[in-house]
């Protein structure tokens, strides 16, 4: 609180982590909804990312308050028409929905661990909810997963739209924009896919999952990443062009603060990492290798953090009112808490991987069976009919002719 920029590292990290959370539930739900077969080994990892980073991201505004006890004022005197409270509501709903969405597809795998006698046995017995794969249980679980799949997509989109409203609903130059909703959602999906790729590559290497996470998964996700990079750049370009074309002094001063002022280095580094590097490396098949994808994805995660910095800080560094400009420098506490948040993410993921399968076993098995069935049906559709089943056409014709 010793500097005029009131929203610094904590709010940057809040927006960043909530953005990463779109990796999971949204990508997993969209791929499941589209019956994308290649999704099967990656959905669990994506869903775990969502649950962990939402918990971490949601803590940051409480830290930012300085007095965490004041969070209780939301319950006493909250103003439901304030975008800040919309945020509390939507993030809570997203956290609840995505945790349930992570848990339900986990039940068959937990039951498998229970039946194998894995310790702690009571934990798997408790979490498996009496699962024995009976037809009725399969039907119930499938229905619930389908319902949540559809529910989770609008919630996920609404969460980041509402976060953008915290900025866009003010009259602050650099924030007051009509495209902030889609801009934030696109950025969130973009950073989410990059984070998912980093996690996939690390787990593939550490747990030797080369048989499950194959080149095709990385190729498909990197194409998606490339498309999101183009969409992100288009929205960034539109955002800055309209601001520049209007030539409004207050808007222009914030923009120049970003483009040529103290925030020029993070701004141009953001463009380099989020657009130039992905387009240069991911658009060519020859460079679309796993090590390159890892480097590009890490670059995008860093670039998207810089994007949050570029959105949050410069507008407050150039006050609308008649106050002197004040570049923002984070304190050691803020930097330490950011490092702690990243560490908490790694720890959370490792604890999950210690107790639960990081790849959905039953979905892989289901996929194998579905593939065999689909192939046999497809082959049968263009093979001649079996003569033992039906009377041969030629024979009938010959009989008629005779």
């Amino acid at each position: 609180m010793n500097q005029p920029v009131s929203w610094g590292f904590y709010i940057i990290n809040f927006v960043f982590f909530i953005g990463i959370s779109h990796a999971g539930t949204l990508i997993s739900a969209i791929l499941r909804l589209n019956h994308a077969e290649w999704r099967r080994p990656i959905t669990r990892m994506a869903e775990v990312i969502t649950a962990i980073v939402l918990a971490i991201g949601g803590l940051h505004p409480i830290i930012d308050l300085g007095r965490p006890d004041r969070i209780l004022n939301i319950f006493k005197w909250g103003r439901l028409q304030s975008p800040l409270l919309w945020d509390v509501m939507s993030i809570t709903a997203y956290f609840a929905a995505s945790t349930v969405y992570l848990y339900l597809p986990l039940i068959p795998d937990i039951a498998r661990l229970r039946d194998r006698g894995t310790r702690p046995h009571w934990l798997y017995e408790f979490l498996s909810w009496n699962w024995h794969a009976t037809p009725r249980q399969v039907h119930v679980l499938s229905r619930a997963m389908n319902l949540l799949m559809i529910l989770v997509i609008p919630i996920a989109v609404s969460v980041h739209t509402v976060i953008s409203y915290i900025f866009a609903m003010t009259l602050e130059p650099g924030w007051h924009s009509t495209i902030f909703g889609p801009y934030f959602v696109a950025g969130a999906i973009f950073s989410g896919i990059a984070a998912l790729l980093v996690v996939m590559i690390v787990f593939r290497k550490v747990y030797h999952l080369e048989g499950y996470l194959k080149q095709v998964h990385f190729a498909n996700l990197s194409k998606l990443l490339l498309a999101m990079s183009a969409i992100w750049f288009y929205l960034t370009f539109s955002e800055y062009l309209t601001g520049f074309f209007g030539h409004e002094p207050s808007e222009l001063s914030v923009m120049m603060f970003k483009l040529t002022g103290p925030y020029a280095v993070p701004f141009w580094l953001m463009i380099f990492l989020n657009f130039i590097v992905p387009v240069a490396l991911l658009s060519r098949r020859a460079t679309r290798t796993i090590p390159v994808i890892l480097v590009v994805s890490i670059g995008i995660v860093v670039g998207m953090w810089l994007e949050r910095l570029i959105i949050v800080v410069p507008s407050l560094s150039v006050p609308f009112a008649d106050f002197p400009r004040h570049p923002y420098w984070p304190s050691l506490t803020e930097i330490s808490l950011f490092a702690a948040a990243v560490s908490a993410f790694c720890l959370g993921f490792m604890i999950f991987a210690k107790f639960f399968p990081i790849i959905s076993i039953w979905e892989i098995e289901e996929g194998r069976k579905a593939a065999v069935l689909e192939t046999s049906e497809r082959v049968a559709s263009y093979q001649p009919d079996d003569p033992r089943d039906e009377e041969p056409v030629g024979g009938a014709l010959a009989e008629e002719a005779g």
Binding site: F75, W77, G78, R79, L80, Q81, L85, W86, M89, S90, T92, A93, A96, A97, V100, L104, I107, P108, D109, A111, R112, D115, W122, E125, F126, W129, N130, W131, H132, A133, T134, P135, R136, Q137, V138, H139, V140, L141, R143, A144, L147, L148, L151, I155, I361, W362, E363, E365, E366, K369
Partner: protein, 88 residues
Amino acid sequence: MQRNWITALQYLSICLMWFFAAGILILIPWLISVAVRWHDALNWTLVISLVMTPVYLTVAGTLTYVFIGLRRGAEPEEPTAPAPGRIE
């Protein structure tokens, strides 16, 4: 004995989910009353309430549906469905 404890914990977890949903559903009318008292954009408060309430109810309802459905559908002696998660 341990099985009874686990069953009790399972019921408790569902109760906690409803406790959470009920907490939100109590909070929303309270915040509407705050808006009324302060003459503070009541229409927007109502719109947000109408959007948020079904979300929490659906999540809690889905979890309860699965919980009850899995308990009723449990036939450990003779499983017949091949997938998902069938132990061979």
